[in-house]
């Protein structure tokens, strides 16, 4: 009898029916989830991350706030955001960066923003609906042809240089932004933010 038992053990070891040993699902509560500091320095991998986004947005906003062009006028200047070109081969959502810049600039109260190209569709549709659908009170429907043109436009780009050896992976990002006066085409302000990240194995 003992011999049989041994035989079975050997067989099961060799055939190794592992079908039942799939990954066990974690419990619904009590896993390793915890909330973190959204503003903390993130160095999980060296791809473009939250800290880079926050640093770029902040440094651009603070630098732009110092531009004399934005101060001294009678009214707060109007700015529109054009595109920030992504020249890297990483999927970086530059819209997330410009959105942060827009938010911080608006909060500063120094400038105001007008609808940008990406948002234009919704804006015109809303105006058209108020005016053409015949559903709205004349007194409250907003008039066509009253939108304000921007004084300045923001354009920029992000580019990167990556170098990699067996042990070292180095990424350099350069984000540059320009504020151009629309009527004259004069560049009133420009700045760059550079970031270098290195991973060693």
């Amino acid at each position: 009898m003992r011999r049989v038992a041994k035989l079975l053990v050997v067989t099961s070891l060799l055939a190794g029916c592992a079908t039942g040993s799939g990954p066990t699902s974690p419990p619904l509560v009590g896993g390793n989830v915890q909330y973190g500091d959204a503003k903390a320095v993130e160095t999980v991998t060296n791809t473009f991350g939250s800290t880079d986004l926050q640093m770029i947005a902040e440094s651009m906003t603070r630098s732009m706030l110092q531009s004399p062009a934005l101060h001294g006028g009678k009214r707060r200047p109007l700015v529109t955001v054009n595109e920030v070109k992504n020249k890297t081969s990483e999927y970086i959502d530059t819209r997330a960066i410009t959105d942060s810049i827009l938010t911080q600039m608006t909060k500063s109260g120094v400038v105001r923003f007008v609808v940008d190209t990406a948002d234009m569709q919704d804006q015109t549709e809303e105006l058209a609906r108020q005016n053409q659908s015949g559903l709205y009170k004349k007194s409250t429907s907003k008039k066509m042809g009253r939108m304000e043109g921007a004084d300045y436009r923001l354009v920029g780009s992000i580019s990167s240089i990556t170098k990699r050896t067996q042990d070292i992976h180095d990424v350099y990002y350069k984000f540059s932004l320009r504020l151009t006066e629309i009527e004259s085409g004069v560049v009133e302000w420009a700045d760059e933010k550079e970031i270098r990240k290195t991973t060693t194995r």
Partner: protein, 478 residues
């Protein structure tokens, strides 16, 4: 009486392990034939017959999703693939949080590869989300497609990291076992299948240009050029010197003005053939202290369905240049080539264990035990044949702008016969998926993106256009 019982127990035990007995090649032969014969419904029946247990594995959901898609059941196909995707995400979570466990499973020496639960090859995991995105778009849900696209490149990053760890571990394992055997040392192994020009041209076994180009297209359709640009750029990096891909990036800015002119940006995705299968090949190897032992290794047989190429498509009188952007067949072979060193090390150790056990029982003269070991040996020694077979073998792309309306699409099928199909162009951006398997074509009439265009997305079902030699030929005679 007692003896007989023991034999039965042993036999049942080994047979009860369904994974060990499974021959995926045999299972899928009929399925693929049915697809080629324009009967995806029957193909699905065969698949269901082969997967009767309540506990379905990843592979079942992958294949079923493909077959449903060919029938034009995009919603059902999406459901299957989302289930498959859920399983892949479980793997992702492990790869992120506990790569050591996964690596340990792979390195497990006593377990044959084929009895492990199917995890999916890396190229399959990446293509899964790209195809899921195509399903979403076929249902007119471009925003959902964007989610899948984002998942695709996040998944690629996880795989890349895991892959690097795996390579290091396998190098160490080989060093520890003093195993320096490479595929070239396997007598009679068809080494050329793992090192032809198509395989060498690949950067790795899991990244494909199609997924990235599709990412570019979807982001562009959703008016996010800053995300579209890296998609096109990465596609070019993965497959340099392909004009269709280069145009994608070069004309990114011009196309926006073209869209303003009321034209639809149409992407033709031609999926050709079937992904290759794997079969086993017995190769005798000298194992220290045991002698010559026959060990089976996986081989990817020649796959003629991967040879289908289109240089152009005709849309009415316009010529749309086509280009091969993803060679799934070569990716499968590259994956096997990358896995081979690990497979060899594990097989050698297993063979040594098996040989020793057999010699000892022979010495003792215990025939029964010897028989049992031979039995398990037989079961063990056939390689893992599983892989996602209903994936296309090649993916070719073409892109052009047309005014919305009805057109006739003409191109040669696999046997050279010219086929023509009606298509309808609508929306700002549109994807037209075409599947060519032997002489059967599957074309989906999918809605264009409604992004920026207020219109009802009319969905027509994909319908098989039966064998070119058959119905179309007959029509001509009438």
């Amino acid at each position: 009486m007692g003896r007989l019982a023991v034999v039965l127990v042993v036999t049942l035990f080994t047979a009860g392990c369904a994974g060990a007995m499974r021959s995926y090649n045999t299972e899928l032969r009929e399925t693929t034939q049915m697809v080629a014969a324009s009967r995806p419904d029957l193909a699905l029946q065969v698949l269901e017959q082969n997967n009767t247990s309540a506990d379905k594995d990843l592979l079942y959901h992958l294949e079923k999703g493909s077959l449903l898609r060919l029938q034009g059941e995009f919603a059902d196909s999406r459901q299957q693939w989302l289930e498959a995707d859920r399983r892949v995400r479980e793997w992702e979570d492990l790869a992120r949080s506990n790569p050591g466990k996964l690596l340990g499973d792979i390195g497990s020496l006593l377990v044959n590869d084929k009895v492990r639960p199917y995890e999916g090859y890396d190229y399959e995991k990446v293509l899964l989300t790209a195809l899921l995105a195509m399903d979403h778009m076929a249902l007119g849900e471009w925003d959902a497609a964007r989610t899948e696209i984002k998942k695709t490149h996040e998944r690629e990053a996880i795989i890349a990291e895991f892959h690097a760890k795996k390579v290091i571990q396998e190098e160490e394992e080989a060093k520890k076992r003093h195993s320096t055997r490479t595929v070239k040392e396997l007598q009679g192994y068809p080494v050329e299948t793992l090192s032809d020009a198509q395989v060498i041209a690949l950067k790795n076994g899991y990244q494909n240009a199609f997924s990235h180009y599709l990412a570019g297209f979807v982001y562009e359709a959703l008016n996010e050029p800053s995300l579209a640009a890296p998609g096109y750029r990465q596609a070019i990096e993965l497959r340099p010197d392909v004009a269709v891909l280069e145009e994608g990036l070069k004309q990114l800015d011009q196309r926006r003005s073209r869209a303003a002119a009321g034209k639809t940006d149409v992407l033709f995705v031609v999926e050709g053939g079937m992904a290759p299968g794997r079969s086993s090949m017995m190769i005798p190897l000298p194992v220290p202290t045991v002698g010559l032992v026959s060990i089976s290794f996986p081989v990817i047989p020649n796959n003629p369905t991967a040879d289908y190429r289109l240089s152009t498509l005709m849309v009415d009188d316009n010529t749309v240049p086509m280009a091969l952007v993803t060679h799934v067949d070569a990716m499968a072979r590259r994956t096997l080539a990358d896995d081979m060193p690990g497979i060899i090390v594990r097989s050698m150790v297993r063979a040594a264990t098996k040989g020793l056990a057999q010699r000892q029982t022979n010495k003792k003269g215990n025939e029964l035990a010897s028989l049992a070991i031979m039995l398990t040996g037989l079961v063990m020694e056939s390689a893992d044949e599983r892989s996602w077979r209903t994936l296309p073998a090649t993916i070719q792309l073409g892109r052009a702008a047309f005014k919305p309306g009805k057109y006739t699409l003409r191109f040669p099928a696999a046997n050279g016969t010219l086929v023509s199909l009606p298509i309808e162009v609508s929306g700002r951006h549109q994807i037209i998926p075409i599947r060519v398997v032997d002489n059967t074509l599957y074309v989906a009439s999918t809605p264009g993106s409604a992004h920026g265009v207020v219109q009802e997305a009319v969905l027509e079902k994909e319908r098989p256009v039966a064998p070119v030699g058959g119905k179309v030929g007959k029509k001509k005679k009438e």
